[in-house]
């Protein structure tokens, strides 16, 4: 094991053990059998997981972030929530929609480069060049294979950029915010309605929201209240006891 550092060794052993687990092996099999489909599913899966977790984190952080002005905090949080959910939906939708349309789009954009006429011309041109250079002209079969390779490489890159680009730019960044911003207002009014009503009705500083500090304040207040009630109860019990004692004493006197 000369030259292998312990960190690399640790990672290879740990990841190696995970890589032999059933779910990972299943995924590897999916990639072996249908790499394009498996890549699409993992890409969408990655989007869902990342945006889902991102959405959860952004929402909880925005609610608790005292650095954001208080009156904007609930709107930012609602925006994060609606954004997150819509992002997942629009991206999945756009990604699979684009998978159907990106190839026809490629054919349209690159129709000057890839069409039957050009294919024939290229073959003739290659033959001409080869003859001039004193070489064996490539056979139609070889030239066609190479032509298909050029096209499929360009198509594969174009498809990836367009599918992911449109899903992440159009779906996630144009459609989502247009729907999310007005929806955020509705979400805000529904989710944070009670807080606002409470605030408006009381007018005092008791705010019930999800911030840890406020929860702590509330807990303290509840504790104080419980203590107060306890004291009052104690007093009452004492009074009762005193009263009973007095009554008993009076009875004894009789």
């Amino acid at each position: 094991m000369s030259g292998i550092n312990p960190i690399s060794n640790f990672f290879s052993k740990t990841l190696g053990a995970i890589s032999k687990s059933k779910p990972v092996k299943k995924m590897t099999k999916a990639f072996q059998e249908n790499p394009e489909g498996a890549l699409a599913i993992t890409t969408v899966g990655s989007i869902v997981v990342k945006d889902g977790i991102g959405c959860y984190k952004y929402v909880t952080q925005s609610i608790n972030n005292k650095d954001i002005p208080e009156d904007k905090r609930t709107f930012v949080a609602s925006m994060d929530l609606t954004n997150g959910l819509l992002m997942i939906g629009t991206q999945i939708g756009m990604f699979f929609l684009m998978r159907k349309f990106s190839e026809p789009m490629f054919n349209k954009f690159f129709k000057k480069s890839f069409n039957p006429k050009i294919k024939r011309d290229i073959l003739t041109r290659l033959r001409m060049e080869s003859k001039k250079a004193g070489e064996i002209p490539p056979r139609k079969l070889e030239a066609e294979k190479a032509y298909s390779e050029v096209r499929s490489n360009a198509l594969s890159l174009f498809k990836f950029i367009v599918d992911v680009g449109i899903a992440t730019i159009i779906g996630k960044r144009i459609i989502t915010p247009f729907i999310a911003t007005p929806l955020a207002g509705i979400v805000e009014s529904k989710l944070f309605k009670k807080d606002k009503e409470h605030k408006n009705a009381d007018g005092d500083k008791l705010e019930i929201n999800h911030s840890n500090e406020n929860k702590k304040d509330l807990d303290d207040k509840v504790e104080d209240l419980v203590d107060e009630i306890k004291d009052e109860l104690k007093e009452e019990i004492k009074d009762d006891l005193n009263l009973n004692k007095k009554e008993n004493d009076d009875d004894d006197d009789d």
Partner: protein, 491 residues
């Protein structure tokens, strides 16, 4: 059939000038500096766009590209719909302060996007590149790769990124750098070394497969069933090549009619295509004139078909027309007849059908119980099916110069074993891709995403307070506070 004569003539005519080309040759030392796909790209219209995609955008295909596109969308596109969304309006009867406040809230929220994009680019793209290198290192170094699922172990045939870095280090050791060699020469030398290294790995694996008919990776072996599948896929490729050499049934009638036109008008065509100008543009003009004047509709169509091709290859098409006439005459002997020609084309297709049938028979049928001996038999049969002795003129005329078929059995055997090694490379790359995706998603979700979120949470309000303090303040709130304070003061 006299097809052999055509091939003999063709060979005799060209033999003196011929140099066997290596179309896959790279680097700056050879006669053909580019591979066949590169040469095709260079001659396509729109080559600049295609070259730009190939050279500058190929890095985008993968997780890094996904993150980069997301960051572009977040930073450059997302703020606009948030800040200027016409669907978000102030309430009816809202005061000027409330309207202003809503506008500020929208701007305040919109600014979060570019801040988030910059942080995502720094943390996520910044992390993915070294992660990629690290994963390559783990899966390509034999001592480390042995811990992973054998299907993903790339220590026998290293992946492109790993080889590139390895060759760069080697060149550095040899004292070769961009500054000492010039960028173009450095790149060409690097490309050449990568190619040579990968070729040597393929050759070495192909020899081992030839000996054992198994694929050994470290101390483990790839499952025989999977090796059998790789062999069958390769045989399918050869079948597809043979299919492509066949004359499509739909065109048989067309070729037959065209042959009739060419033979019947041979002398006339020679006459009209005599003394044509060499300059492509002048030639095009001349052809246009000929097409305009032409009264024979078949010949007119022929000229128009030539005119339909690019100006620079029109002269070649005229030469090709005469080559076709010679070919038809040779196929049919001196006495051309449409029936004879049709029969020759059918025979050609029949010969290819036989090859396809033989190749189909080579395939391993029972995959579940496939053993090395079955794999060996299948490969041997495939070698025999792709071999032709050069004595059968019909076969020779069809299969000459096609890489899949050959007259030298030993060379063919080496090629087929190399093809299987290349098939294994594709298999291991696909398998590794699954792990690469899983680890990157896991790292993204568990490490880089939480870091980005937390950093954004810290940076965003501070950035806004620092750069746009007016957006951070609420005018309505301020007004309420002022009113409250005034009330208190009054009291």
């Amino acid at each position: 059939m006299k097809i052999d004569k055509i091939y003999q003539n063709y060979q005799e005519h060209n033999n003196s000038k011929r140099i066997k080309p290596n179309y896959s040759q790279v680097g700056f030392a050879g006669k053909n500096p580019n591979s066949l796909p590169d040469r095709i790209t260079n001659s396509l219209p729109g080559k600049k766009v295609l070259q730009f995609m190939q050279e500058k955008l190929s890095w985008m295909k993968g997780e890094i590209g996904g993150v980069a596109m997301t960051a572009i969308g977040t930073g450059a596109v997302a703020p606009w719909p948030i800040a200027f969304n016409p669907m978000v309006k102030p309430k009816k009867g809202a005061t000027e302060e409330e309207k202003e406040d809503l506008k500020n809230t929208k701007y305040y929220t919109a600014w979060r996007q570019p801040v988030s994009a910059v942080l995502a680019a720094i943390f996520q793209i910044g992390a993915l590149t070294p992660i990629d290198k690290f994963l390559d290192y783990l899966y390509n170094t034999p001592e480390l790769a042995k811990h992973f699922d054998v299907d993903t172990n790339q220590s026998v045939l290293n992946n492109d990124g790993f080889v590139k870095r390895k060759m760069k280090k080697e060149m550095q050791k040899d004292g070769l750098s961009k500054s000492s060699m010039g960028k173009a020469n450095y790149e060409a030398e690097l490309k050449s070394r990568i190619k040579a290294f990968q070729e040597s790995q393929i050759e070495s694996l192909a020899e081992k497969i030839k000996e054992t008919h198994k694929i050994q990776v470290g101390k483990e072996f790839i499952n025989d069933k999977k090796v059998a599948n790789i062999v069958n896929e390769q045989i399918n490729n050869y079948i597809s090549d043979a299919e492509k050499l066949k004359i499509n049934k739909e065109y048989l009638e067309f070729y037959s009619k065209r042959a009739k036109v060419l033979i019947e008008n041979e002398d006339y065509l020679k006459k009209i295509f005599e003394n044509l100008p060499e300059d492509p543009l002048k030639l095009q003009e001349k052809l246009k004139e000929l097409a305009k004047k032409e009264t024979n509709s078949d010949v007119k169509k022929l000229i128009e078909e030539i005119l339909d091709r690019s100006a620079d290859i029109q002269s070649s098409r005229i030469k090709r027309t005469f080559q076709r006439i010679n070919k038809i005459k040779h196929i049919c002997g001196k006495d051309y007849s449409p029936e004879k020609y049709m029969q020759a084309m059918m025979e050609r297709n029949g010969e290819l059908d036989n090859i396809i049938k033989n190749l189909e028979a080579c395939k391993i049928k029972d995959m579940t119980s496939a053993k090395p001996s079955d794999i060996q038999k299948a490969i041997q049969k495939a070698i025999d099916s792709c071999h032709f002795d050069g004595k059968n003129p019909l076969q020779t005329s069809i299969l000459h110069d096609a890489k899949t078929f050959g007259t030298n059995k030993e060379k063919l055997s080496t090629k087929i074993y190399k093809d299987i090694a290349k098939g294994y490379k594709k298999f291991v790359q696909k398998s590794y891709k699954s792990h690469n995706q899983i680890w990157k998603i896991a790292i993204g979700v568990c490490i880089t995403l939480p870091i980005t979120c937390n950093v954004l949470n810290w940076v965003y309000p501070r950035f806004m307070n620092w750069t746009f303090p007016e957006l951070s303040k609420s005018k309505v709130k301020q007004k309420q506070l002022e009113n409250q304070n005034q009330g208190k003061e009054v009291k």
